[in-house]
Assembly symmetry: C2
Homo-oligomer: 323 residues x 2
Amino acid sequence: MEKINQLKTEFTAFMDAVQFDYQPSELYAPIVYTLYQKGKRLRPMLCLLTCEMFGGKVEDALYPALALETFHNSTLIHDDIMDQAPIRRGLETVYKKWNTNMAILSGDAMQALAYDLVMRTPRSIDTARLLSKVHREVCEGQQYDMNFETRMDVTIPEYLEMIRLKTAVLLATSIQMGAVVAGANDADQQKLYDYGIAMGLAFQLQDDVLDCYADESVFGKKTGGDIVENKKTYMILKARELAGEEDRYALDTLFSSSGNMDRTKKIAAVMAIYDRLHVKEAAEQAIGEYFRQADLLLDSVPIPDGRKELLREYARQLLGRDK
Amino acid sequence: MEKINQLKTEFTAFMDAVQFDYQPSELYAPIVYTLYQKGKRLRPMLCLLTCEMFGGKVEDALYPALALETFHNSTLIHDDIMDQAPIRRGLETVYKKWNTNMAILSGDAMQALAYDLVMRTPRSIDTARLLSKVHREVCEGQQYDMNFETRMDVTIPEYLEMIRLKTAVLLATSIQMGAVVAGANDADQQKLYDYGIAMGLAFQLQDDVLDCYADESVFGKKTGGDIVENKKTYMILKARELAGEEDRYALDTLFSSSGNMDRTKKIAAVMAIYDRLHVKEAAEQAIGEYFRQADLLLDSVPIPDGRKELLREYARQLLGRDK
C-alpha cells in the first residue's frame, strides 16, 4: 500500500537527517556502520503505523521509532559477540570488523543513545519506561537462549517464553510505543501490546520454518543453518515431542554432533525426520493460531476498521500472507 | 559526622531491602554479586547528601541513588572485560568468575535496571535524562582512555577531558541528581554539577598520586601499578611535560617496555624521575586548585552555609583533607 511505503520513506529521510557525528569518532563509527545498513526498519515501522492508526502525530513518533531501531541494533552488536557470529546481513559484524572491546563499548553507547532518542517526544516518561522494561526483558530472553544451548530437554512452553522475551516483546513494545505517542488509553495499549506479542511469536516461528524450508533464492542464505548449529528452535522441539523413541534418539544424536559431521548429510537426515513427523505443518498450524489471535485482538480495538488496515496489511506482508 | 554515617546506614538498609531476585537467576547472579560487595557507595552518598542539603525528601532520592550505583557497577563489569582485569576490590571480576558472555549480558541488564530504578521518583523524566546523558559520556570517556593506550603524545588537557568524561561526570551527575530530586532550580543544579566536576577531577588526580606515593598498608594494594601497566596518568604526562630531553627519552623507553622488565626496577627508575621533577608537588598543586574551585562553587549556592557542611565534610573525607 502506498501509505506504508510513504512512511518508510519518511522514516528513512528522518534517519538520514539525524547525524551521529559525535566525538570520539572511534566510538561512533561502529554505531553509524550498524545503524545505516539497509534494513526493513520493522520496529520503527510498527511504531509509526500504530501512531498513525490512532490518529497521532507521526512526527512525534519519529525519535521513539529511531530509538527502537537503535536499541535493537545495540542488542545485535552484543549478541554477535556472544554468538561469535562473523556475518550479519551479508556484512562483517562489529566485533569482527573492529574487535570485541569496540563492540562492547559501542553497543553500550548505542543503548545510551536509544534512551536519549526515546525521550525526544512529548510523552517521554512513558516511552522511557517502555524502553527500560523491554531492555531488561530482551536481556532475559538472551539469557534463556544461552541456557538452552546446553539443554536437550527444553519444552515448547519454555521455548515460547524465550522467544517472547527475546523477540516478541520488542515488536510488541514498538507497537505500544506508537499507541503511547498517539495518546491511546491503557486498555487499547494493552490490546496492541498483546497483538504485538502474538504477531512476534508467529514471526519467530515463521523464521524457524523458513530456516528449514525456504526457497534459498528468496531467503538470501542457505537453509538448514539452525540444524547445523544445533540451535533449539520450534522445529526440533516439536519434532522431539512428536517423535517415537527411535526418532528422538536419532534427533538427539544428530543435535549433539559437533562441527565434524558433513553439513549436507546432517541437514538431510534431520529434514527426513521433520518431513515424516509433519513438523512443518505443526509449526504452520501454530503460526496460524497466533495470526488469528492477533487478528481478533486488533478487531477488538474500538476504532474504525478502516484505520486498522495499514497495520493489518503490513503484518500480512511480513508473514507472507499478503498473496 | 553522625549524619553522614546515618545516611550511609539508611542507604545500605534500603539496598538490602531491594531484592534483585528476578528470573533467569543466571542473569541476575553476577548483578547481585557485583552490587552487594562492600563499597563506599560514593555516588549514592553524593546524591543523598545533596538532596538533604537542598531540604529534599531523602526517600525520593533512594531509588535514583541506587540507580547511580547500579549504573556505575555495570560500567565496571564491562570495563573489566575490556581491560582484562581479573580482580576488583579483592574479588574475581565477573568475566573471570563467570565468562565474557555473562559479563556482557549481565552488564547490559544492569544498565536496563539502572533506568528502571532512576525513574522511581517523582521527578522521573529529569532523572532519566541525566542518566542517559552521563551514560553516553562515560562510554566516550572509556573510548578516549582506550585511544590513549597506543599514544605517547597525550596532552594534559586531553587527559583531563578523558577523566572528566570517564570519572567526573558521573560524580557530578550524582550530585545534580540529588539537587533535581530536591527540586533545586537550574542555576543551582549547574553550580552543583560544576562543583562535582571539580571534585571529580581532584579525586582522580589524587588517585594518580596515590598509585605512586600511597602508604601501601592504607592503600590496600601495591603502589606503582599504573607505572607497571604503562598507564597514561597525570603523573607520567606531567613528568613528560616537565622533563628535559634526556628524562623524556628515559620515560618513553620505560613506558614502552612490555611485561618483561623487572617490576621493582621499573617503578624505582620512573619514581626517581618523578621525584627529581617534583611531579607529586605539581599534581598536588593541581588538586588544590580544583579543590578551591569546588569550594568557591559550593560557596556560591544561595542556601544557608550550615546546610552545606555535610557535603563539604564528606568531600574533605574523600580527599583526605579532613585532618
